[in-house]
Amino acid sequence: MTPSFTDVTIGQALGSRTIGVTRQDLVKYAGASGDFNPIHWNESFATGVGLPGVIAHGMFTMGAAVQLVTDWAGDPAAIVDFQTRFTKPVPVTDTTGTDEPGASIEVTGAVGALDEDAKTARVDLTVVSGGQKVLMKAQAVVRLG
């Protein structure tokens, strides 16, 4: 159930989520989204354009990070606004054939602002991979009950 406006306070933590990412996840995201840029699935192409290797789609990271907010909001339709800047790439090493992820993304969230008139909360997400913030100003606005 969507939290009630009166029950939400600034600074309230939404908890955290760890997302393991494999090369296969990137292929799945490419197919689902229609974004077939080879930097997300072909090592030699990625290094050829100066990247450290295959990197995750920024939109994969953005799309996976918001789950923390959806869980809290109780209804994906309550997320009325969601934005981010992509600051660092997320390199995904090839771990095909093992049970290990090729990258790990840590997402934490907290309520950063409340809008009394709109009855909305702004959730600020911190999204880190490999010790670096990979998204900046990752903010989701949630319509509360």
Binding site: F60, G63, V66, F86
Partner: protein, 153 residues
């Protein structure tokens, strides 16, 4: 080739219709590791007051990137896709995207700013759902900036 500065203010009208299918919502939800039942289970979506399955919050990127392709593939734009980096992205949902929606996107080039040898281009897609009577309702606005790296970057 450099970015055409006259792109600013240009619009591309709504082109092909995107039919939002249940299986596409499920596929996209799995691809972003979304787990909410309203993306997968019709009864769960209806219990929350929705007409059909609810798309994940970033689903509109499919429609927005198709619209962006009109600009990127426009030979007049001067954009080399292999030098494009996604810089930022925003989704404003006027109402959720629901399975069964028939969507069209109107693309607007809101900003072109040169940066070094490259350029930052900001586009906005106004996404509309078509009704049976051919009227349309704005369901989402997506805003994205892409950095087109210059030759020396």
């Amino acid at each position: 080739m450099s970015i055409n500065p006259d792109l600013q203010g240009r619009s591309y009208p709504a082109a092909e219709v995107y039919d939002v299918g249940r299986e596409k919502i499920r596929e996209f939800a799995r691809a972003v590791k979304a787990t909410h039942p309203a993306h997968f289970d019709l009864n769960a979506a209806i219990a929350l007051g929705h007409r059909d399955l609810v798309a994940p919050p970033t689903f509109a990127i499919i429609v927005a990137q198709r619209a962006d392709a009109q600009l990127i593939e426009d030979p007049d734009s001067g954009i080399d896709f292999s030098r494009v980096v996604h810089a930022d992205q925003r989704f404003v949902h006027h109402r959720p995207i629901i399975a069964g929606d028939r969507l069209v996107a109107e693309l607007h080039v809101d900003g072109v700013r040169s940066m070094g040898g490259g350029a930052m281009i900001t586009t906005r897609s106004e996404i509309f759902a078509l009704s049976e009577d051919a009227s349309r309702r704005n369901v989402a606005t997506t805003i994205s900036s892409i950095l087109v790296r210059g030759e020396e970057q």
